[in-house]
Amino acid sequence: MNLNLTLAFQVLFFIVFVWFSKKFVWVPIMGALNERKTRIADALAAAEKGQMAEQEGRDQAIQVISEAKTQASEIIGKAERHGARLVEEAKSDAKEEGARIMAATQAEIQTEINKAKESLRSQVSELAVAGAQQILRREIDGKTHARLLDELAAKL
């Protein structure tokens, strides 16, 4: 074992290397490591917060949806009732209208009938008179029996 000046130089190297390593290697690398540690912790916290916000948003969305559903069903119910009413109204209107039209038609028919009866009556009386004139021309004086004939016509 020959110890010599090599030892002194190696001590010198050691001092320089350790100094360099501490100042220019250890400190920046540990700094980066610690910074990353805090960044990861922050990111995790943010993620948790985001998750909570998402859950909250989801709950809110569910609530909004259920509200919308009840509202929609209310509106649909209303609309159905309204429609039914409209149909009922239309039905009753139609019935009334029908009845009115029917009544008017019947009245018209009645007048027509009456008119026809009237004209028939007058025609029949004329016909009867004409017949009677034919038959009685010679035997019966018109003027004498005019009163009788009128009576007959009134009776008809």
């Binding site: 074992m1 020959n2 110890l3 010599n4 000046l5 090599t6 030892l7 002194a8 130089f9 190696q10 001590v11 190297f13 050691f14 001092i15 290397f17 350790v18 360099f20 390593s21 501490k22 220019f24 290697v25 250890w26 400190v27 920046p28 690398i29 540990m30 700094g31 980066a32 490591l33 910074e35 990353r36 960044r39």
Partner: protein, 287 residues
């Protein structure tokens, strides 16, 4: 090495265990040692150029790689290299947190430096023994040990630096009195003042031995493991060039030993780092 047929196995091994040495010759002039004997004659006034070169290059490689990451370090999504470096940094940080209870910003970066640096130096052991020396021999450099941790100078330098830091922090944290008390008041304690004084030399002897043994065991553990591993690689490489059968067998052995050694080099780097952390923790502990 220029492995001619004439040299013996002993010479081959000795050659591979000789550092490229620069120092003061016996006649007072400075220069490269041309032979192992010359290098040995230089004594203390010598420098192992190869150990220091590789130690410096590998340490610089570690710092360069981590510095590149540190410059671009982002708290966002890390890229491949950043991920890798952060993994190592966090691994070291976890070890420091687990074993070191004091407050000292130096310990963790020091542990990181030691772990990566020693790992890289040990890793040189996996480069086949002959490759770099033979390549350098082409340029007239005849000695080359590429694994700095097989040089006791390197491991002792690291262990001694840590030892002195340990004493420095012990005195700073506990005060000179506290440090002295730690040396002379344990492990034998007594209420009786006379007995207390009698125990001082015994305590001091025991504590001093345990104190001194720390840097020695710290450095020798790393050195011994790496030296032995390197020695086995050298022995295996002796088989190459001794016939086709032995060469193939040697290749197989080298593979097995290299796979096993991956574990050893990582483990030794880790042990060195952990012991550093533990020693630093001892220095910071109050009693």
């Amino acid at each position: 090495m220029a492995s001619s047929e004439s040299i013996t196995s002993g010479e081959f091994i000795r050659h591979h265990l000789t550092n490229l040495t620069f120092g003061r010759h016996a006649d007072g002039s400075w220069g490269m040692a041309q032979t192992g004997a010359e290098a040995a004659e230089m004594g203390v006034m010598a420098v192992h150029v190869d150990s220091l070169f590789w130690s410096f290059v590998l340490g610089a490689l570690f710092l360069w790689m981590f510095r590149r990451v540190a410059v671009r370090a982002t708290s966002g999504e890390p890229a491949m290299l950043q991920n890798f470096c952060e993994w190592i940094v966090e691994f070291v940080d976890e070890n420091v947190r687990g074993s070191f209870s004091g407050k000292n910003d130096l310990v963790a970066p020091m542990a990181l430096t030691l772990f990566c640096w020693i790992f890289l130096m040990n890793l040189m052991d996996l480069v086949p023994v002959e490759v770099i020396p033979r390549f350098l021999a082409l340029f007239g450099i005849h000695f080359q040990k590429v694994v700095p941790t097989t040089d006791p100078n390197i491991t002792f330098a690291l262990a001694l630096s840590i030892f002195f830091l340990m004493i420095y922090y012990s005195i700073r944290v506990k005060g000179p009195g506290g440090f002295a008390a730690e040396l002379i008041m344990h492990p034998f304690e007594a209420k009786n003042p006379v007995l207390k004084i009698l125990f001082i030399p015994l305590n001091f002897f025991l504590e001093f031995v345990s104190l001194i043994s720390k840097p020695i065991s710290h450095s020798l553990r790393l050195f011994g493991n790496m030296y032995a591993g390197e020695m086995i690689f050298i022995l295996i490489s002796l088989m190459f060039g001794a016939g086709i059968t032995l060469t193939l067998f040697g290749g197989f052995l080298q593979f097995i030993w290299a796979v096993f050694h991956i574990l050893v080099i990582t483990l030794q780097a880790f042990i060195f780092m952990v012991l550093t952390i533990v020693y630093m923790d001892m220095a910071h502990q109050h009693h």
